[in-house]
């Protein structure tokens, strides 16, 4: 799972819909891998608007990256160094193994071999 995807996934349990704890999930015991990818400045800028910044900062810090500015940079004060850092975090950082936990219901989702599973056991499925 690419880091950027962590900004778009939430707890799949029905009763967690819309609750504050269901996003972002808490990332624990993660094994990361960097997969080099071509830098596309325009794409990173086009993505900025779509990101939930506080979720991004929180998950980055859970994965050991505390270098992300706490406030979303405006288009005026963004520079190439920051864009490259974001590129590396969002698109090159792969979570290979790990856990994602919902703050609301404490359900644990697993990432195995790079793929996150949100399938629920029958008693929790909708």
């Amino acid at each position: 799972m690419k880091f950027i995807t962590s900004n778009f996934v939430r707890c799949a349990v029905k009763s967690c819909d819309g609750t504050e704890g269901s996003f972002p999930l808490n990332f624990q015991d993660c094994k990361l891998q960097l997969e080099e990818q071509e830098f596309n400045e325009e794409f990173i800028i086009s993505m900025l608007e779509r990101l939930d910044w506080s979720a991004l900062v929180k998950v980055a810090s859970q994965l050991g990256n505390n270098a992300i500015p706490p406030q979303k940079p405006s288009l005026d004060d963004i520079n190439e160094v920051l864009l490259k850092d974001l590129h590396s975090l969002l698109l090159e950082t792969q979570i290979i193994e790990g856990k994602m936990i919902c703050d609301n219901c404490q359900h644990v989702y697993y990432i195995k071999d790079g793929i996150a599973s949100f399938l629920l056991p029958p008693h929790l499925a909708k």
Binding site: C11, Q37, S46, M47, L91, Y109, S117, F118
Partner: protein
């Protein structure tokens, strides 16, 4: 003609083999691409989130990414079948330099944050059946139920698609579009009428229709206007 991605090492006992329904999606996207439909819609500069539910071999998502059909897109795919997800990622990587793709094992869009998806694609299990097999244990990858789950859709073949239609308003961003395939036995004219009377904020129209042997297939666009 845009080239069709190559799918290597497809295990057809475990993953849905691309068929007429899959190719109807490719033809539809090629047609929309020629009309510059997506570039005209996306004159601003924001990234697009594309979600293909039930990506199977990954042919559809790979096709639209390889030919850059939707501008500035990040492609998410979901499937309940883990072998399908691995095949999708392989197909994607084998055919395109584009790396903006990620795969989630998930029922429909249940784990996707609400109101974020700009384009949703679904070639669902649509064949009418008495019942739908229950989902096997997640690690039981050689269970034959996985391929059945790619095909059968219960009563009128609409069980899975109806679940999606009921949550479409929560999944799509404003101006977001869902492209969903139906066969004649799904009774899609009635399904669409019912949907339109419930969700007055949507515009629905048939984009492409084709007779394939004894099967008649159609892809509808559901656009969330507000």
């Amino acid at each position: 003609m845009l080239s069709t991605p190559i799918v290597k090492d497809l295990d057809i006992d475990k993953v849905y083999e691309p068929a007429e329904d899959t190719f109807l999606f490719l033809d539809m996207f090629e047609q929309l691409h020629e009309e510059q439909y997506f570039t005209n819609l996306n004159s601003n500069s924001t990234a697009n989130f594309v979600l293909e539910i039930g990506s199977g071999s990954g042919l559809i998502t790979t096709f639209i990414a390889e030919h850059n059909i939707i501008p500035r897109s990040y492609n998410l795919v979901s499937d309940i079948n883990i072998v399908a997800l691995r095949t999708t990622l392989n197909t994607f990587n084998d055919n395109t330099e584009n790396t903006n793709c990620d795969a989630l094992r998930c029922n429909l869009a249940d784990s996707i944050r609400l109101n974020q998806i700009n384009y949703l694609l679904f070639n669902p299990p649509y064949v009418p059946s008495e019942e739908i097999p229950s989902i096997p244990d997640a690690d039981d990858i050689s269970n034959t139920a996985w391929v059945d789950l790619a095909l059968v859709g219960g009563n009128d073949g609409m069980l899975i698609t109806n679940n999606l239609l009921n949550s479409l308003n929560n999944i799509l961003a404003i101006n977001g579009e869902a492209y969903i395939l139906f066969c004649a036995r799904n009774k899609h004219p009635q399904v669409v009428e019912k949907f339109k009377s419930k969700w007055t904020n949507f515009q629905v129209n048939c984009v492409i229709q084709r007779k394939c042997g004894w099967e008649e297939l159609a892809i509808y666009r559901f656009k969330k206007m507000s």
